[in-house]
Symmetry: C2
């Protein structure tokens, strides 16, 4: 079982205590910037899901490095491995290749994991309810993920309605999507503005040592940095 729950010291900086937010942090660029946005107003409880993804070990290393840098007061590395064992996605199914040298095709991409965000959000909301947190942050964005049905604003609106109906009356948790209308360049700019440690993030769908630079996630990331006009601080294969 790949799972850890940890309670840490906590902020304790000057000023009144901040409310708590659960942040869904894969360790990738988008979730890192979403967490940096959450940090402006909230103490962080960081949530990572293990669902049998190919690059789990590298993702977890990025997640833990970010948690350490930010001084998160709680972390949860949840074992949702059953999702990978259902099959149906190239991210978790060793029999389906990760497409290389091409951006994701229109429509539902092969990396789509059925109902993934709904499962992760449900787990994060349950944790938020136990912790008394007020928000759940997710780095979803619609422009870079046009084929993913569970990255659209109307999907998150429906999820907020579900939380309202499905939790204790006194529970006030809302899903916050600070990146929802940004493209990759906009996300990188926001991250730089917030001082997010982008050099600690990991986006590659395929490799765990140096990023491949060829999967759809690497291509999107490299295009974003190129549009902003700054070098990507992580290491790429053969560079």
């Amino acid at each position: 079982m790949n799972e850890r729950i940890e309670k840490r010291g906590g902020g304790g900086g000057p000023g009144p205590p901040k409310p708590l937010a659960v942040v869904m942090l894969s360790g990738g660029l988008d979730s890192c910037v979403a967490a940096a946005a959450a940090r402006r107003e909230f103490e962080l409880a960081l949530f990572h899901a293990n669902y049998g993804q190919r690059t789990l070990a590298r993702e977890l290393a990025a997640f833990r490095a970010l948690a350490a840098v930010w001084g998160a007061i709680r972390i949860l590395e949840a074992d949702l491995g059953f999702l990978g064992r259902l099959g149906g996605s190239s991210l978790t199914d060793a029999g389906m290749p990760v497409p290389l040298d091409e951006e994701e095709p229109p429509g539902i991409p092969p990396t789509y994991v059925p109902f993934r965000n709904s499962i992760f959000l449900a787990a994060a909301v349950a944790w938020a309810e136990v912790l008394g947190a007020q928000a759940v942050f997710i780095g979803a964005n619609v422009l870079d993920n046009p084929g993913y049905p569970d990255c659209r604003p109307e999907y998150f609106a429906a999820y907020n309605r579900l939380i309202d109906l499905g939790t204790r009356p006194e529970t006030e948790i809302t899903i916050q999507t600070p990146l929802i209308h940004l493209d990759k360049a906009g996300i990188i700019r926001l991250g730089m503005e917030l001082g997010a440690p982008l050099e600690l993030t990991w986006s590659c769908y395929q490799n765990e040592d140096a990023a491949c630079g060829r999967c759809s996630s690497c291509l999107l990331r490299l295009k974003g940095f190129a549009a902003v006009g700054v070098p990507d601080p992580i290491r790429y294969q053969g560079k």
Copy 2:
């Protein structure tokens, strides 16, 4: 890890093949009757969640006995143990006692597991999307669970909206709640009418050999059988 995914032979009876439904089957009375209702129109894919509940082994024995009797074509025993480790419920937290000799108090009962149905439904819908199933059945009912926010019809309506928005456009899955407006006596009557094997079910929150007859779940079950005027076919402690 307590997890199993199995593909079985399948119905193959006379007549055209039936569509497939995922049924959330805890092994309790309600979910057994919901499955019996699903069987009228669907082939069964049976879903059980391990979330660290006290009586997991006994529940699983009931689940497997029902799966065997009905000839389910798929079974999934999903490991959602992280939910139990979050704490906050007497069903999963050894430090919180299961209340005895009293029905559940008004308001949110101590057996409430935060956002549980949302997590289970998300997992079941993901599986249904991979299998191409058309429905997800759940034995929730509002009369016997007035304190559970995630057992109300408006909650399930919101969930159907979420599925509509959060899955592939061609995916047509709806949550079906055949027991939603029945009380325990009504559920028992429907189960008998459908020939559901109620003698194989398990409801006790506390014991695994003979039912305690004293936890809120046993009390509700016994009251239901008394109202119908038939004996409960399972064994109780000291009887």
